[in-house]
Amino acid sequence: MSVWEYIVDLFVNVRTDWIEWLQGFNLASSLIILLDSLIGIILMLIFVFPIVIIFIWLERRFIAWMQLRPGPNRCGPFGLLQPIADAIKTLIKELIMPAKGDKLVHWLAPVVLFFSGLMLFAVIPIGKGHLGALADLNIGILYIVAIGSLSVTAIFMAGWSSNNKYALLGAMRAVAQLVSYEVPMVLSIVGVVLIVGSLQMSEIVGQQSYPFILVQPLGCFIYFIGAMAELNRSPMDQIEAESELTTGYFTEYSGMKFATFFLGEYISTLAIATIVTTLFLGGWKGPFLPVWFWFVFKVFAVFLVILWMRATLIRVRIDQIMAFSWKFLLPMALINIFITAAEVLIWDKWMSGWESFPWPFIFVNWAIAVVLILLWSKIFFKLGGGRVEVGEVRPGYSQGYGADLQAPVS
């Protein structure tokens, strides 16, 4: 095996060698599994943390470029050491604990968020075959859905234990928003699962001879928007809502606890970007260059789109955000499942030769996606989730208040 071939699939090759080397010692098989997962975790952390640090740097630089300023550029070359300087700064800051807060929960919340983000990486394949992922579960997608929704708990713990009204409001918003966006998110993945016929992540990537965004444009769109809400990134950053709730659920956090939250959020962002890459953009697949390069490249492309949206769009109001989930994304996700299921049936029966590149489906699905989005936006307005048109003014928006000014307020 040449050096180039070794580098092309670095992650898998390192792991394979390690296991072979371990088997030379005649250890118990359980010990081998333990040591194998150990090296897997180390490799994963080596992969995750530098990217997260680059993410933090890139977020500030990229948004700064859009805002016509250079961004942080004092620490190290191009300001690359800025996240490290920030980390040192937060480390030496005082940990402030609200006097009437719940101490244990307050301490536990950032840890839960941090690890719920980190655990997602266990099933993401970065290389070929079963060894590509740390643990290639046969229920990989189920695992992602289950662990991904843990972050709600962490956010609510933080908001509740802070004993702060802003934090509590942020946490309430978080629960409402994240739970309702979980539904369309899961339903949008179902389309991919239907096509592949398996919940295993390595299988999903293995079957993508073309990126699934081509046959699943609607699913990708819904998943991406749902993920933005899940990550509470602008335009769905109701939970943090700087101009409204200062910083929402982590208003009372300082020092390293805050840094853990911050890091946890970026890890979740990275996790979502990797999931989008794996499910819809073909994972590690790509011509000529090493597989891990393609993987990182796609992850960064997804991340830059997230940043671009953050730099441009304004925040959506809380009731609009909920209406968007239940009245817009959910029906679309359901329709997407029906269409995909029908297509899979047709595919199996009559189109056995088309697996490699089913361009009729690609064409049809994109047309359906565009038409549905346009059509549903019109219906969405009728349903009342959209804006209030001038002329049909609704005086008492939420019956009771506002309509009668003279009414005494208790």
Partner: protein, 157 residues
């Protein structure tokens, strides 16, 4: 979203301050004062015109019936740099400076006494003294850069 995308490729408009400095306006009301002892007659018009009363001036009469300024002090920590004292001075003895880096750790250090006011390193601003303007480098605008001489001539012909 297309607009922000286009802006991604435009050049920055901020400048890196400590390395690169823009030249300020010729009339800047900077954070120091320049006082000329040879022109000052000790009339204390500046002290009277100051809204905050931060100018302390002590004078005595000498033999040939003229005021001599014994001491003049500015409490620049309370100054709001309105420039009224410079405009009020009938003998052109008082000028604003052009410095803008007068941050100090203690409020006491902001007292400008006679030596500070007469320090030869002080740069004089043309505020209230238009006759000085040609000597001072032209202001560079942050976005437009320098207004070129041709444009000025074209306009004023």
């Amino acid at each position: 979203m297309a607009l922000t995308f286009r802006h991604l490729f435009r050049s920055f408009i901020t400048t890196q301050y400590p390395e690169k400095r823009l030249s300020t306006s010729r009339r800047i009301r900077g954070q120091q004062f320049v006082w000329r002892s040879d022109l000052c007659t000790g009339c204390a018009t500046c002290a009277k015109s100051c809204p905050h009363g931060i100018i302390q001036i002590t004078t005595s009469t000498n033999g040939d019936n003229r005021y001599v300024v014994d001491n003049i002090e500015f409490d620049t920590g309370r100054c709001m740099f309105c420039g009224l004292c410079v405009e009020a001075c009938p003998y052109n003895a008082l000028y604003m400076g052009r410095s803008y880096e007068q941050a100090r750790y203690s409020r006491k250090l902001l007292w400008a006494d006679m030596e500070t006011l007469m320090d030869p390193a002080n740069q004089v601003s043309a505020y209230g003294h238009p006759e000085l303007e040609w000597r001072i480098p032209r202001q560079s605008l942050l976005v437009y850069g320098q207004i070129s001489q041709e444009m000025v001539d074209e306009e004023n012909d």
